[in-house]
């Protein structure tokens, strides 16, 4: 340039807020995928969320129980709190770190398309920006429902939500899938839900919210697992947070509670699952452990292996080491821990990540991971990256290969 001064342009979004378009928030990831050359890989996101509470008025109309429906409608007209009948915890309001992470606070961007539910458009935008071929969608606040003091409310809200999402969201886009909520508080409702929904469009399996305080190996749940195995439907344990158990009650900051809570629940359930021989009883039931990160797995493998070998009489159903069963399970990648890359690599080796790990975004939550977090791992070869980002999920959920990929 003659002047030696280069002209430039301003970005259209100077500050990201709750009103910013999802595609602008995630624009850097879109750009990275093109730069790095994996934009044409199959990518499946096995854990993302929508905010069902923004549609709560619609959801409750699916409640079957007439009295609960009455209460739910009544609560809608009240102000000052979360929608009635849900099990929303006030502490969850800290998730966006005091407004520092706007997409966790609220997705308030304009949506003009009235032909589909607003959430369908929001999902499509995140899929476009993150380069996804499929997204497995979960609710948000309903993940707290497992500790609802009224099991019947858990059961009927699960039924209502499942009907609503199967009627309203899933039919609109072949790429949106879900693992439907099973209200373990009422086993009979779990059977109803499996029977009613397992053939519905977009349903690729079922999910237990891990924040609950009943042992998952209880005999009352065994017929549920048998039914899922017979129908070749995966079972996921979706971790969550609670600030109400005796351990997390001692933590008085969100960071502390969140760091422990999301792992502790799955530590307990996985321990019961393995030590009580569920993998031996249901060898063909695919189990997926979602949103506990990965750093807990080497701990689980070593701890359970050590104790099992000293006390095999307490776990007589086991025919191999606990870690051998863990290596046959599936895991979602988010929130991935990478502050010590040697430990991350050792974890991937220990769990056979190349065949057992599946990418998850957790979008739009505050600790989401974009696909680049997998692509950028320095110790993975290309095939392992492809497996984790998409190929493993295509196989586990028996999804059609995306056209041209």
């Amino acid at each position: 340039m003659d002047s030696g001064i280069e002209k430039t342009k301003e970005l259209p979004v100077q500050e990201i807020t709750i009103d910013t378009d999802t595609r602008d928030i995630l624009a850097r990831e879109t750009k990275y995928q093109k730069e790095k050359g994996f934009a044409d890989w199959p990518i499946v996101d096995i854990d993302a969320h929508h905010s069902e509470m923004t549609s709560w008025r619609q959801v409750i109309e699916y409640i079957e129980d007439p009295i609960l429906l009455h209460y739910a409608r009544e609560f809608q007209s009240r102000t000052g709190g979360a929608p009635g009948l849900s099990n929303h915890t006030p502490g969850l309001r800290y998730q966006d770190a005091g407004g520092r992470i706007p997409h966790q606070q609220q997705i308030a961007e304009p949506v003009d398309d009235k032909s589909v539910h607003r959430d369908v458009t929001l999902v499509r935008r995140s899929m476009q920006a993150l380069g996804l071929d499929y997204q497995v969608l979960f609710p948000g606040n309903l993940l707290q429902l497992g500790t609802h003091p009224q099991p019947r409310v858990e059961a009927h809200l699960a039924l209502a939500y499942n009907r609503w999402v199967c009627d309203t969201i899933l039919p609109e886009d072949d790429r949106i899938k879900t693992l439907l909520y099973m209200p373990l508080g009422e086993p009979e409702m779990c059977h109803r839900i499996i029977d009613e929904f397992s053939e519905r469009k977009g349903v690729v399996g079922f999910m237990i919210t891990s924040v609950r305080f009943k042992p998952v190996h209880h005999n009352s749940y065994i017929p549920i697992y048998r039914k899922l195995e017979e129908r070749n439907l995966p079972l996921a344990f979706h971790a969550g947070l609670t600030w109400t158990d005796e351990w997390t009650k001692q933590t008085d900051l969100f960071i502390s509670m969140h760091a422990i809570s999301f792992v502790l629940c799955n530590i307990v359930h996985m321990t019961n699952w393995i030590i009580h021989g569920l993998p031996e009883r249901f060898p063909n039931l695919k189990t997926i452990w979602i949103e506990s990160g990965l750093a807990w797995l080497p701990f689980m493998m070593q701890r359970l292996d050590s104790e099992y070998q000293m006390r095999p009489s307490e776990a007589p159903l086991l025919k191999k080491l606990p870690s051998d069963y863990i290596r046959e399970m599936y895991f979602s990648s988010q929130p991935i821990e990478t502050s010590n890359m040697k430990l991350t690599e050792a974890t991937f080796d220990a769990m056979n990540a190349s065949s057992q790990l599946m990418y998850a975004s957790d979008w739009p939550h505050w600790d989401f991971n974009a696909p680049s977090t997998i692509y950028d791992l320095p110790f993975l070869d290309e095939q392992a990256k492809r497996n984790i980002l998409g190929e493993n999920a295509l196989r586990v959920f028996n999804l059609d290969r995306p056209a041209g990929k």
Binding site: E6, K9, E10, L11, V13, Q14, E15, I25, P102
Partner: protein, 121 residues
């Protein structure tokens, strides 16, 4: 190295910013306490758009002389830029994370000439 025009100095309010793009490089230029600071719009965590995040003062914990906690408050001097993707925070004048000195934003030099603001890219 080229000198890239950002904008007029008079257009920057205190704690104002201008996020620009030049040859595929995005740069945020901030005006804080009478000085300009510029960083690549790429968080060292997972590449998020750090310069498009909120500007907030650093949070500090107040300890009494006997080392008991007196709660949290805003630091009166240290200003942070917060990544909107995941919340990573950096001192807006140094580009360094408050608890990880190895987490540093890529910095650009800023100059003001004749009332116009430039970054060296």
């Amino acid at each position: 190295m080229v000198k890239v025009f950002v904008g007029a100095e008079s257009d920057f309010e205190d704690r104002g910013r201008r996020v620009i793009e030049y040859n595929d490089t995005e740069i945020g230029v901030f005006f804080v306490d009478g000085e300009f600071f510029a960083y690549e719009n790429k968080c060292v965590h997972q590449g998020g758009p750090i310069c498009q995040g909120r500007i907030l003062n650093r949070v500090v914990e107040v300890l009494a002389d006997d080392r008991t906690s007196q709660g949290l408050t805003w630091d009166e001097e240290d200003v942070h830029i917060v990544c909107p993707w995941h919340g990573y925070e950096f001192n807006i004048k140094t580009g360094i994370h408050p608890g990880n000195k190895n987490a540093r934003l890529r910095r650009f030099e800023v100059s003001v000439e004749g009332g116009e603001v430039y970054v060296d890219v």
